[in-house]
């Protein structure tokens, strides 16, 4: 908590790895380093400024943060060590949890990814992709067909998931976190 108030800034700062957001000096190294900055409506530096200005809806309705490819160039270079990549993922998580609908398919992809882990214990790549395309645009899957076939013929795309015993344990861990063992 910062100043004891539950503001958008406090909400972000309370997420693990995001506590240094207030130490940002707005130098712009993150935006200048970002691999995909050209796609962002508000580049990383601006997103951080907007979070601190309390512009929650503007930040979470924008597709900007969803372009983060987790390359950590911003984080390796940040002179204040505020971990911008972690902040972007924290914002994504808030957007998903609070039902924002930014114009991006990455929200669906992340959900399919997380579902695949909860269901199988491990990422089952073929099933995860099918789930994603089914929920977004099944016709787009046709474009991916040649790629899927070449991976299949090179024995790199098993069609069935592996049975992992640890998934039950994993789901108990999820359940414990969801029900808030300590909160």
């Amino acid at each position: 908590m910062i100043n004891g108030k539950t503001t958008f800034l406090n909400e972000v700062a309370s997420i693990p790895a995001c506590d240094k957001i207030n130490e940002c000096v707005q130098c712009g190294v993150c935006s200048g380093s970002c691999t995909t900055a050209e796609h962002w409506e508000y580049p990383p530096r601006k997103i951080i400024a907007m979070v601190r200005a309390g512009m929650k809806d503007e930040v979470l309705n924008s597709n900007s943060i969803w372009y983060c490819v987790s390359c950590y160039l911003c984080t390796a270079r940040c002179p204040r060590n505020i971990k911008p990549a972690n902040i972007m993922h924290a914002l994504e998580a808030i957007a998903l949890k609070e039902g924002y609908k930014p114009p991006t398919k990455t929200t669906t992809m992340y959900r399919s990814f997380a579902n695949s882990i909860e269901k199988n214990g491990r990422i089952y790549e073929f099933g995860f992709m099918l789930d994603y395309f089914f929920k977004t645009n099944p016709f787009a899957a046709l474009k991916m067909l040649p790629l899927a076939l070449s991976l299949l013929t090179h024995k790199r795309m098993p069609l069935l998931p592996k049975s992992v015993k640890g998934k039950d344990q994993l789901n108990k861990i999820f359940h414990n976190i969801t029900t808030g063992g300590s909160r």
Partner: protein, 303 residues
């Protein structure tokens, strides 16, 4: 023989097959024993942090708890797993609230984690524990004259965990040299391939992959020597045809994981090096080395 706990990561069971098969093939000749964690589960990777950070760290901690029981260093070949495992390890030491939440969740299933696991990338193990001199001494099929672009990728060196340089690393270049190959200048060697969003932002990722292939080829590389990250390898190898159809290019650049490269240099056969699993076939490029013509050519040019 050195022993390690081994965490392959989910992609190694599918798209990362060539990288993984070659890793197992080179382990014994390099005197390392990789003992796969029993019944391991996903590390959560970066997408899970975009869904729920605490849950993400808790599932990473399950892997760490399993590894801690072995008392061995935990080795992973996947750069994404490497970064997430290290991040969870550090965050739980810094953030006590997170550590407590994760601890309670682990205890509920009879596990615990005390923060003692040393997490290592397999490239770093090959570089530091096996060592370049020992590696060079084991070479039976030198890849003399082969011009390679050494692709380190992003998460192997970032955020900065002290593994090589985070902007312009050169460990893979040094490994390539000790196998006889010639690394070319490759300024984009630690730039991201966009793999984490290749499913939902395909166009954006294809653009990044195109830049990497272009940079490698423009600098005279005959092939790419990629890190063991299955995401990097798949992006550059399997998505090459998509780059070609989108940019009207004709890239036919074989992408060999460093594990495959080492397998070939150690004199192992095509099957051990898993060359059949590569989408862009490296067989034509490597044929002179398998028939011994390359070493003959070298001997002739030397005399």
């Amino acid at each position: 023989m050195k022993y390690y706990a081994y965490y392959p990561g989910c992609s190694m069971e599918a798209t990362g097959a060539p990288v993984e098969k070659a890793i197992h093939a080179i382990a014994k000749p390099l005197d390392i024993e990789l003992m796969e964690l029993e019944d391991w589960t996903c590390c959560g990777s970066s997408p899970f942090s975009g869904v729920d950070k605490v849950k993400a760290m808790a599932i990473t901690a399950r892997v760490l708890a399993q590894a801690e029981k072995t008392g061995l260093d935990l080795v992973t070949p996947c750069s994404s797993c490497y970064t997430i495992l290290r991040e969870a390890n550090e965050l739980m030491k810094e953030d006590h609230k997170l550590a407590w939440q994760v601890h309670e969740a682990l205890v509920s299933v009879g596990l615990s984690y005390n923060g003692t696991v040393n997490i290592r990338h397999i490239v770093e193990v090959i570089y530091n524990d096996v060592g370049l001199e020992a590696l060079a001494a084991k070479v039976k099929r030198p890849l003399t004259g082969l011009k390679v672009a050494c692709y380190h990728g992003c998460q192997q060196v970032r955020p900065d965990y002290g593994f090589d340089d985070s902007e312009l690393p050169n460990w893979l270049d040094n490994i390539a040299k000790s196998l006889g190959a010639e690394p070319v200048n490759f300024p984009l060697k630690a730039r991201c391939c966009g793999s984490s969003l290749v499913i939902s932002e395909t166009g954006m990722a294809i653009d990044l992959i195109h830049k990497l292939l272009q940079n490698a080829q423009d600098n005279g590389a005959q092939c790419v020597l990629s890190t063991t990250c299955p995401l990097c390898h798949t992006a550059l190898d399997a998505y090459q045809s998509q780059v070609n159809s989108r940019f009207k290019t004709k890239y036919n650049l074989p992408v060999l994981a460093v594990s495959q490269f080492i397998a070939i240099a150690l004199g192992l056969d095509e099957k051990a090096a898993a060359l059949d699993y590569n989408v862009v076939s490296p067989k034509k490029l490597l044929a002179p080395y398998f028939s011994g013509k390359a070493s003959l050519a070298k001997a002739e040019s030397a005399t």
